[in-house]
Amino acid sequence: VEVLNWFLAALVFAGALPPATGCYQFVLAGLHRFRRGRRTIAPLHPKVAVVIPAWNEVAVLGRTLDHLLALEYPEDRLRVYVVDDASDDGTPELVRERAAQDSRVVHLRRENGGEGKAHTINHGLRQLYEEGWFEAVLIIDADVLLTPSALRLMTRHLADPEVGAVTAYIKEGSNPGNTVTRFVAFEYITAQAAARRAQNVLGVQACLAGGSQLIRRAALDDVGGEIDTSTLAEDTVTTFKVQLAGHRVVFEPFAIVWAEEPGTIDGLWKQRLRWGRGNVQVTRRFRKVWFRRWRGGRLGGVSFGLIWFSVTLMPVFMVLSSVGLITLLFIDRDFSVETFQTFWAVNLGTYLFITLSSFSIDPRAARRSLLQGLAFPGLVSLLVIAYATYPPLLDGLNIEEDSTVWWITILAVYSWLSASMLAAEVVHRLSRNPRLWWLTSPLLYLVGFGPLLCAITAAAYGKELRGAEMRWDKTEKTGKVEELV
């Protein structure tokens, strides 16, 4: 029985692995300064061809071009290629007008579009190779705003011949924002400013941000001169291939790029489902790399594997944790209470460390999304943490042990890690109901943004297992993004 108890306790603590790995990344992020000191960076202005895949982007593309043409970068070393994927909303006219005003802008047109972003990018890359002018390519989304120094801060890393690609710090810049965009703004501090700094320290990057990725020509040559079209995560596949070809990929935290992220739960669900499915596809495609340092180099390192799988397997860890806790409750109630309290004490520690560290890494973004940062795991989870940390909290309710109410309460509390994902799915469905959509914002605070992302990852498993059709659902953009300083 004792062995079984400890096995179940181990299952429970599997649920603490993702936040613990998050803490590990924040510790590494703190050491970023020492990593920077060891690498070569120097002023360098290679000939950069910017490739912008665009399908019906008239609402946002004009400002993107304005920001590109105002970059602190030598004019004769920058060209902007807008690859218009058979747009019919005025995008071609807009680009032609800009091309007439500034010779650095080039309009490329695909008459038969609709194949997706990667095919559109490849159309642009073929043109670049025909011209032969470029020394590096910057692939960006049609809606992003590069800050004036962003490109030159990225290109300085190419002074190191080992560096094959550089990614920028994408920040959520919807103005005015809403609950969803502010949750994303906070999430990006952890997923980008912290996680990518940590990956710099480990010497390996999981993903060149699709919104802004600078690739050296030699590195692009080594991956076949084109972007992968067989998965929904073309940016991650490029990142892996570039690194497996022997190049380094680095993150430049001071190169800021503003982006507009989905402002509705449904929009976010579609975008993240695509990312989640892409991650499952990448996990399978590079299955011979994981935890095999001799084959995958730094991609095969233990630390990187832990970071990757703590994100992609998060729903599995959550379910295992709940199953372990509830089984323990029926086998050994006292031990289950001890395990429950210790588990949530660990969660309290990771929550405090990750939240405070996020505020420390990007105080400006954190100020804007303070409430969302505090409520990221959900108010219900915070109540569970409070109860686990201080059990007398529920004494005032006078719930008699072994009564029906006691059982319902204890089962709800013990299963919350898994139940929160179902609750998030309910919030998603409510958000699509035209009469109940107003409930979604308060419910999102209650359930939490973390559980919502976890639920989307679980949904991505389902889609991949069913072999659902791969569709590129375009994220709707309104052009409300600003440089939020």
Partner: protein
């Protein structure tokens, strides 16, 4: 990749400023670790 002249002084100052910011980040991370571990130890002592 071709090289190009740049404002060396500005680049050096910018790089130093970024180094300083990264060092402050490390200092804050250290303080946060101490605070959180202290809080958890306090909780363990009290419960």
């Amino acid at each position: 990749v071709s090289d190009h002249a740049d404002d060396e002084a500005r680049f050096a100052e910018e790089a130093r400023d970024q180094e300083r910011r990264e060092l402050w980040l490390l200092a804050r991370q250290f303080l946060i670790v101490v605070a959180v571990v202290g809080l958890l130890l306090l909780r363990a002592a009290l419960v």
